[in-house]
Symmetry: C2
Subunit: 226 residues, 2 copies
Amino acid sequence: MQGSKRNCVNLFLRKTLGIQAMYKKVARREDIIQAAIEIFSKKGFQSASISEIAKRAGIANGTIYQYFRNKEDLFFSIPVEKTNEFRSQVALHLEGITGVFNKIRKFVWYFLYFFKNNPEYGRLLMLELRVNRSFAKTETYDFLKQSVRSVWDIIEEGQKEGVIRTDVDIYILRHLVLGILEHMVSRWLLKDAQYDILEHHQQVSRILIDALRGGVADSGGPVAKD
Amino acid sequence: MQGSKRNCVNLFLRKTLGIQAMYKKVARREDIIQAAIEIFSKKGFQSASISEIAKRAGIANGTIYQYFRNKEDLFFSIPVEKTNEFRSQVALHLEGITGVFNKIRKFVWYFLYFFKNNPEYGRLLMLELRVNRSFAKTETYDFLKQSVRSVWDIIEEGQKEGVIRTDVDIYILRHLVLGILEHMVSRWLLKDAQYDILEHHQQVSRILIDALRGGVADSGGPVAKD
DNA sequence: ATCAATATTGAACATAATTCATTATTATTA
DNA sequence: TAATAATAATGAATTATGTTCAATATTGAT
C-alpha cells in the first residue's frame, strides 16, 4: 500500500525532474520534517513558528510551502516515518514468540520501550496528534491505527485458542490494552519523563492478562506463567 | 482550598467595588466563560478567535482582557465549574453503595454517563486540556486530578479489605481504570460521538474488576456478582 | 551555450492576539 | 442631587505570525 504509493511518486518525479533533483527534493523534504520534529516537540504546534523551522532547516520561509500545504500539513506529515519504524520493530520483536500472553507481554514492553527512547516524538504523537480532530481524518491517522493492529490480532488469536474471554467485545479489550499504555505514556510525558516508564512493565502485563483471561478457565494452551 | 480562595477574591471585591458591581463583574466573567465554552468546543483552541468569543458574549474584544490574562488563561479557566459538578455528582452517586466492586461499577457508569451528556466539554477536556503541557502546570489541573481521587480511594479500600490485589502498584491500577475510560471517551469524541458510549459499561466494569481482583482469592466481602 | 522548466527567496499581505489612550459607567461625598 | 473620583468598557492601533507571489536563482535538455 505505502510502497506502491511511493513508487508512483517516484515515477512522477523521475519523469519531470532529473534524478539528482529528485534526490535533492526528497532530501530537502526530510530536512524540513527533521527541523519540524525538533521545533514542534520543543514548543508544541501552537508556539512553534514557521520562521524558526525554516531557519533550522536552513531555507527561506516560502520554501516550506513548496513541500507542504500549510503548517498543519507539515505537522501531520511527521508521524509517517516513525510509524513505520514502530510497526516493523513490533513485528520483529514478536517474531518467534509463541503464546498469546507472551506476545502481550512483549507488546507491552516494546510499546513502553519505544516511547522511553522517543520522548520528543511521543510528545507530538500522544499529546498533540493523537487527540487532534483534523488529524483523525487524515490518511496518516489510518496508517497509525494499523500500527497497533497487532494488539487486535493477538486478542483474536487468543479468543480462537480459548485463552482470552469472548464475553467482552473485542473493541473493549483493545481499549483496555491501548488505554493503559497510552495513559501511562501521556502522564509520563506531562511529568517531563522524570521517572522510568519501563519500570513496571511486568505489572502492567500481569493485570492486562488477568483482565483478558477473565472467567475463562485456563485452556492449557501455550501460556507461560510470570 | 477552593472555597477560601473564592472568599479572598470576594473580600477583595467587596472592599474595592460596590456590592452590585461585584455581582455584575462575576456575572460578566461567567458570560465570557460560557461564550468561550461554546466557541472553543466548536472550533478548538487554535481556530477559535477572541473576536468571536467577545461577539458571542456581547462585549468588546478588550474587555476579555480585563477578566483574563490572555486567550490561554481564558481557555484554562473553563474546567473549574464542570469539575465541581463532576466531583459532587460522583460523590452523590457513590453515596450509600457498599462493596468496592459495586463502587467501581458505579464510577465507570457515571464517568461514561457524564461525558455522554457533556460532549462539548468532553472535547475541550479530553482532546485539548488534558494533554496540554502548560495546563498540566496550573492549579486547575491539580483540582481536576482531585476529581478522580475517588478511584484511588476505592482501590485503597479494596486493598485493605483484601479484595483488590496488592501485588501491583496502586498507580498502575489507577492507570488501568482511568486509561480505559479516557481512551474510550477520547476515541468516541474523535468519531464525532456517533455511537452510544454507555452501551458497554458493564463489560468495562467486568474486565476492570477481573484485573483488580487478580490472583487474590475472593474474601467474601460485600461484593456483588454481575 | 542557450533556453525552458523548476525551485527558492523574502518582502508584502492577511489574520488575529494583545495593548492602551479614550470614553462611559458606577460609587462616593458634600 | 450635583460634583468628583474610581473603575470598567471600548475599539483603533500595535504586534506577531502564517501564507502568498512576483522576482531571482538554479537546474536540465538540446
